[in-house]
């Protein structure tokens, strides 16, 4: 099990009910973690529609997670 710090934004924050948390996970990759969270909290987007930031860098969803990583799942952006 790894402890991962997760931040939630927009629709993910609304569905999860909070902006961040640190959780233990068996997930090996960012995609596996997303799929777990999406199932647990009824996230409305498939992993293919979501980007991931690991330690403040955009990374592929297949990125392997390390203990203590700071992860944020990025739904489609709409700034500007």
């Amino acid at each position: 099990m790894k402890q991962i710090h997760i931040r939630y934004f927009a629709v993910f924050r609304e569905r999860r009910g909070l902006g961040e948390e640190t959780i233990p996970t068996t997930a090996d990759t960012a995609k596996e973690l997303y799929d777990q969270l999406a199932a647990n909290h009824d996230f409305p987007l498939a992993s293919s529609a979501v980007r991931v930031s690991v330690n403040l860098e955009f990374r592929p969803m297949g990125t392997k997670l390390q203990e203590g990583d700071q992860v944020a799942f990025i739904p489609p952006v709409a700034g500007g």
């Binding site: 931040r7 934004f9 927009a10 629709v11 924050r13 409305p44 987007l45 529609a49 930031s53 403040l56 944020a72 990025i74 739904p75 489609p76 952006v77 709409a78 700034g79 500007g80």
Partner: protein, 139 residues
């Protein structure tokens, strides 16, 4: 000039002039009252602050390398905005206007494409929706 997020109203303050800049282009994105046939009452911007500033700075750096400009800067407002409020302000200084216009347009496109900021519109009917997210969901 740099990339900033602000929760305060964006003022129309020009930067201090640069000696070699003959042209300044400023783009202001404002909140409009309708979108995709819906009447908008107000909207909210939410940002992943640290990453938004990092990605925004990278965009400005890339613009300085890609276009023949002297400087570029951007401010994006977050929080609850009313109709007519400035949501984003991009300013580009160059010796000549063509590069300034092109760089400004490119920066706006890149900010919209990549910066982790989300927009939730509140409609006249009382409902609301996350732009680019809720519209992709099955009804």
């Amino acid at each position: 000039m740099d990339f900033q997020l602000t929760r305060e109203p964006i003022e129309a303050l020009p930067s201090s002039p640069l000696d070699r800049a003959g042209g300044y282009v400023v783009f202001e994105g404002r909140v409009r009252c309708e979108n995709e046939g819906r009447e908008v009452r107000s909207l909210e911007y939410e940002a992943f602050d640290e990453m938004a500033v990092r990605v925004g700075e990278e965009i400005l750096q890339a613009a300085r390398a890609k276009f023949d400009i002297l400087e570029a800067g951007c401010v994006h407002r977050i929080g609850h905005l009313q109709i007519g409020d400035r949501a984003i302000r991009v300013e580009v200084a160059a010796a000549h206007r063509k590069a300034a216009f092109e760089a400004c347009d490119w920066i706006v496109d890149e900010v919209k494409r990549n910066v982790p900021i989300w927009k939730k519109e509140h409609y006249l009917e009382g409902d609301s929706g996350w732009i680019g997210i809720d519209s992709t969901l099955p009804t």
